[in-house]
Symmetry: C2
Subunit: 181 residues, 2 copies
DNA sequence: ACCTGAACACCGTTCAAGT
DNA sequence: ACCTGAACACCGTTCAAGT
């Protein structure tokens, strides 16, 4: 509060005439950022592509505000603004053939994945140093980890995200196929 | 630091003779909790069951310390202790037929999902009230959300977690099947 | 080697007083 | 209606001084 006030050239206490408290201010930030989500497109493609597009948009918004990712991780998305997106996503899943319950599950699961992965993406790389030196590891004891360390420099977190997203969608696909029989 | 010291019946500054700083203390907590992960079992079942079991164990440890979940969300797991689990998981995936790169992707993706979902599980339910009253929503404007609200009271977050986990595993399965051809 | 007290530079928030 | 200053109850951390 004190720093926000300072940035506005005003005293900290003045803010309390515009927001309830710190949580209220964060609510505002939350809704503001969520408002950057591109509007739900009219249904023109497959549900697979639509789910993918929604998840990617969400990720893009999160990565555009790395400092806010922990906020999204802690705060539930229940503003009116965000409910419009929820509605669209649930509609999408139901139209694909999922039950109401399964749509809820699928939606929550994808959101959890996007947020969880965003966290690992924006993680302060400086923190990595606090761990043990990878170089000091006995390569014989940790063959797979050693292999992994060699891969890290060229590792693409966006590709990794895509990979997991496609796993989820492909899992849903298979589930729909078997339930239709 | 001040409260930890107080709980130990000592002055805050005394802690600095045992840990570097607050981050160092959190590192210790982190490793301690991670140590509660059941040891990697010998390979006796399918990789599907093994991946599922590892993810469920990780979730159980997280949920046993709800206040620490945000810590796990922010801090990378690079203690020697945790690397043993990483090694085991990567070995598991490679033995299932994934390349080193795909194993890394799969591992990270599952961890992101477990952490992301744990966050939504331990989210302070008191926060939900800060959103708009679901009751005040126009049911005609939000048919799917209205449906969802009716489902919430009987919604099982553990079942939801299982659902997503199985999607990921089933997605991996399909990927392996098609790549083998 | 380990602990301590005072001090510094921060927080969010209450409350009474100003315009 | 909006802003302010002083004050309260907190933080993590530095530094010099104690045993």
């Amino acid at each position: 509060m004190r720093r926000v006030a300072q940035a506005l050239g005003v005293e900290a206490m003045s803010l309390y005439h515009h927001v309830e408290d710190k949580a209220g201010l964060l609510d505002g930030v939350f809704e503001l950022v969520l408002g950057k989500l591109p509007p739900a497109p009219r249904r023109t493609t497959s549900w697979q592509r639509a789910v993918k597009e929604r998840a990617e948009s969400f990720r893009a918004v999160l990565l555009a505000h790395p400092r806010l990712v922990p906020l999204f991780a802690t705060r539930p998305a229940v503003t009116v603004e965000s409910l419009r997106h929820v509605e669209h996503s649930l509609e999408l899943l139901k139209a694909a053939g999922l039950s109401a319950r399964a749509s809820l599950d699928a939606f929550q699961v994808v959101v959890a994945y996007v947020v969880g992965h965003a966290i690992s993406t924006v993680r302060d790389p400086e923190l990595e140093t606090s761990g043990p030196d990878y170089a000091q590891l006995d390569a014989a004891d940790f063959p797979r980890v050693t292999e992994l360390v060699a891969l890290l420099p060229t590792h693409d977190l966006d590709a990794e995200f895509q990979f997991g997203l496609e796993l989820l969608i492909s899992g849903l696909e298979r589930r729909l196929e078997t339930s239709r029989r």
